[in-house]
Symmetry: C2
Subunit: 302 residues, 2 copies
């Protein structure tokens, strides 16, 4: 924890991250953004030839789809719903008086049709399902969006609003598990090419409550999710900078994703935590990009 706070303070002092008064909610400097943009271009170079369809969803999604996703079963504590004022002139006067008196005015806010996106791929599944059957050769999608997780923290690698880049693959079991393995190999290679020490391990997601322990055990036992770990604030507690998920046919069943031959599609996704990767680079090579190792600079900026 101490190392996390000290790294966060150094990021604030250098101006790379900008305090907003809320833990896990930060502004980014132009330099920080430049590192993320460079890393995204590296992703494009590695994955570009695969011919994924690029889609960019905004940071919020249809709440009905969010509900159907089952996220509230596993991670209710992390989810964010968007609420608005829906009253009349009279209600507005009460609201302003409530705010004036420093009381809690937010209880009167009503849920809108929008929930914040918890992972970049969540809006994709219902979108693809509406298009009809997926080619027998599989479908491949390239996504990126800001995501929300309600977990205030002094660990700069645990932000409440952060960007996730993802590739999602839909097809036969063999197709999507090969996709996942390909990206596990590529991920290790990419991180080494920018001077980062990596290891791959089974994931350890923070499923909520007692029932959550069963879900976590199941995820581990079936090797459904792997993470690529890099030391950011601690050698002992490494940070998951990529994840590799195989959903079997669970999303195919849920969303009605089928292949041309009528079988239910299997799906897998590979995610890059863009802020975490940038922070791993700053932690390893220093806060001044100008003095990063020449090989790393060359890989990122050519």
């Amino acid at each position: 924890m101490d190392m996390q706070v000290s790294f966060l303070d150094r990021l604030f002092e250098s101006g790379l991250l900008i305090e907003t008064g809320v833990d896990g909610l930060y502004g980014r400097s132009g330099q920080f953004e430049d590192v993320i943009a460079a890393f995204e271009r590296l992703i494009d170079r590695i994955g570009g030839a695969d011919g994924a369809e690029a889609i960019r969803f905004p940071p919020g999604m249809n709440r009905a789809y969010f509900e159907k996703s089952g996220y509230m079963k596993s991670f209710p504590q992390l989810a964010g719903t968007v609420h608005s004022f829906c009253g009349n002139d009279h209600d507005h006067l009460s609201l302003l008086q409530c705010m004036e008196e420093g009381k809690d005015w937010t209880k009167e806010q009503k849920a809108t049709d929008i929930a914040l996106t918890p992972a970049a791929c969540y809006p994709l599944y219902p979108t693809v399902a509406k298009r009809g059957p997926i080619s027998q050769n599989g479908g491949l999608y390239d996504l990126q969006s800001y995501c929300f997780r309600h977990e205030p923290s002094k660990d700069p690698a645990r932000q409440q609003l952060f960007r996730m880049r993802e590739y999602v693959c839909m097809g036969t079991e063999a197709h999507v598990t090969t996709f996942r393995q390909t990206w596990m190999d590529r991920g290790v290679e990419m991180m080494r090419s920018i001077g980062l020490d990596v290891e791959i391990d089974v994931a350890n997601d923070p499923f909520f409550g007692r029932a959550g322990r069963l879900l976590a055990n199941n995820q581990r036992d079936q090797n459904l999710k792997f993470e690529l770990l890099i030391p950011v604030t601690s050698q002992a507690n490494k940070t998951a900078c990529m994840s590799f998920n195989y959903h079997q046919d669970a999303f195919g069943q849920k969303w009605g994703l089928t292949l041309e031959n009528g079988s239910v599609a299997h799906t897998a996704c590979v995610g890059f935590g863009l802020e975490r990767i940038a922070l791993a680079l700053f932690a390893k090579h220093g806060l001044d990009v100008a003095i990063w190792p020449e090989a790393v600079r060359k890989t990122l900026w050519g």
Copy 2:
């Protein structure tokens, strides 16, 4: 309205925008994003030499700053607050049962410390204030973020989550009003260079309720805000694609922004509605970028 729906349908059919089941909440195709990226590079070329400090805030901001901003006085109906589940294991079971039964589960959600950003510059003022006095030569900032406005609509140019690029200037009255005039001239020039018909008019913001009419009159009478209007779905009802705001010393007073000589800073901001500008281009030149006029393509993609 009919033209708005028909344009929206054509955007869906072409795949440039992607339905999510919520009005005003859409996915974007890679081609749509490419137009926005090209227009942002045009902004960089026009504004780059001014030496603005680039800062990128996430799509949410500190709710305490949001409250202090006064946004709930003027546009309560447009604002979005982020709410989360904060209960225990028992509450979680109730929540899941409530969802199972199709009842409203969102009433139990509690407001977090985060509100969605209503305009890209909102998080900037408290950030700059904390740094201490602004140089007598003024401060200039380059911002971009997704912004939220709760106004579901079939008009593709009125989205609930959209991107705003902004320059914000802080300094003396003469400095910031010159900045604003410079960008009004540049804005007209830029839009003409990509083949768009523009006019500038005083703004007509949707201030809420009876008290709002006074605020709207004040804004108009004092010429505090101008808009650059372009026909998107209608020649009669043009769409505001840029805005040019002079806040006098209102934000300087509110946030404690001072110049080195101790006087209160005046502020002005210039905003680009990036989705609206992209849509104006598609409306004018057609949905197939490959057949846009050569001069427009050259300005955007070199």
